[in-house]
């Protein structure tokens, strides 16, 4: 027993090193498995507050840019509204169903921290579960898809950015409605790969790629980007398609969190199918 203690004392430097490395490694691995380590991320209050303060300061330098973006979004929404009014005028019998609640509800939030230069990028916003934010809600901006919420604290939330190799979303080409899977290529902050589009489809540079609505996170038809390059790899039946993302992640300031009011119902229904 005594010799054991002596051994431990003499080698405590190595043993402590091994213990700390093992602990770090377990953190890394558990995060890779999507298990959430709740304390070690920027949803915690202290880090969130620091990021929020800094973001206030940073806002003053980008006021005019943000204004221009909001104005553009206003214009786009007004056009949509006009079109809807016109449709209703033409057909007085067509009235939106006011009994049914809307399937998707949008909540505005501000980005307080957002990384773009890592392989696994995360985004922190200034709303948490007190404001109704929950895990697995989508994040969109006026420009397009941004990411999905993974961690929530009382007043802050973090999510995977689209620029994260662990994130992929079902996407479709608007022109022909064919769906594939879109994931970041890990290289540039404005390009992603669209996979699983079979060879018999005609693909053109400039085609629009939007969310497919196949996942319960995003509504159908939210802009993702446009096709910039495609080629046919040998030995597969699928295209390699490069998509230029419409969201500028470097200047991201304001986002909207998408809540699917029917997500629970949908998940329950789908899990029933698996059970049988």
């Amino acid at each position: 027993m005594r010799s054991l203690f002596r051994f431990l004392l003499r080698n405590y430097f190595v043993l402590m090193f091994v213990a700390l490395e093992a602990f770090s490694f377990s953190l890394l691995v558990s995060y890779n498995n999507y298990q959430r380590v709740t304390f070690i991320n920027s949803t915690n209050n202290f880090v969130g507050t620091i990021y929020e303060r800094l973001s206030h300061l940073d806002d003053y330098f980008s006021l005019s840019k943000t204004n221009a973006k909001l104005a553009a979004e206003n214009a786009a929404l007004r056009t949509q509204l006009q079109r809807r009014i016109m449709l209703q005028d033409r057909n007085p019998l067509m009235r939106p169903d006011t009994v049914d609640a809307p399937a998707y509800i949008f909540t505005a939030a501000k980005v307080i921290s957002n990384s773009v230069n890592k392989q696994f990028n995360y985004i922190t916003i200034n709303k948490g579960y007190r404001q109704g934010i929950k895990q697995d809600m989508g994040i969109v901006s006026s420009e397009g898809v941004v990411g999905v919420i993974t961690n929530v604290s009382p007043n802050y939330a973090t999510g995977l950015s689209l620029l994260n190799k662990r994130f992929s979303i079902p996407a479709k080409i608007t022109k022909n409605n064919y769906t594939g899977n879109l994931a970041w290529d890990g290289e540039h902050t404005n390009t992603a790969d669209l996979k699983e589009i079979p060879f018999h489809i005609t693909v053109n540079v400039g085609d629009t790629v939007v969310t497919s609505g196949l996942s319960s996170i995003f509504p159908e038809g939210i802009m993702i980007g446009t096709i910039t390059k495609w080629d046919q790899a040998d030995g597969t039946n699928f295209y390699n398609i490069k998509v230029e993302l419409s969201t500028n992640f470097r200047t991201l300031k304001y986002v909207e969190i998408v809540k699917n009011t029917k997500q629970d119902e949908l998940k329950k229904l789908e899990s029933n199918n698996v059970g049988e």
Binding site: Y12, S24, L27, L28, N41, V116, Q119
Partner: protein, 168 residues
């Protein structure tokens, strides 16, 4: 001793803030991410107790992890740096300096030795860091490029800051 304690506390806070608020937001390209917070580990006195050295290395690593949503990656790389630091100190310094417990800075070590010290430390730390971040050997060339470019800028910033501080 107390004066030294506060000096290191301030250095810790300043380095973490510079790292997470300024350098983590540098967006030149995905290949250049300088990490200069390891200067804290490098500047701890030579005669520091082993458990203190490892403990502080872990502490600054995990702090950077919490801010950057990268659990374990910086902590692991920093602890490794803390572990090899005594060996590195023997390599670049005399026994006399180490036993006296001097701070391994530019004046005490001399310019050439300090540069050697920083370069070796940054290269080892960043190598572990970037491979732990990618967590695979695919895209190995990109990871190596990221390692070399980032190390270059980290070394540049660390040496530059030390040069400015000691010139005044």
């Amino acid at each position: 001793m107390i004066k030294d304690f506060w000096k290191y506390v301030i250095m810790f806070v300043v380095l973490v803030l510079i790292q997470v608020l300024v350098l983590n937001n540098i967006q030149i390209s995905g290949f250049i991410n300088p990490y200069i917070y390891i200067l804290f580990i490098l500047l701890l006195p030579f005669n520091i107790q082993g458990y203190f050295l490892l403990g502080l290395s872990f502490l600054i690593g995990i702090t950077i992890d919490i801010f950057g949503n990268t659990p374990g990656i910086h902590a692991g790389a920093s602890v490794l740096l803390g572990f090899i630091r005594p060996g590195l100190a023997n390599l670049i310094s005399s026994r006399e300096l180490i036993e006296k417990g001097t701070t391994p800075n530019m004046i005490q070590l001399g310019f050439a030795n300090f540069i050697k010290y920083v370069i070796i430390a940054v290269l080892i730390h960043h190598l572990v860091l970037f491979f732990a971040e990618t967590f695979s050997l695919s895209d190995i060339l990109e990871t190596i490029l990221r390692w070399i470019l980032s190390s270059f800028f980290s070394i540049l910033i660390i040496l530059g800051s030390q040069f400015i501080i000691f010139k005044n």
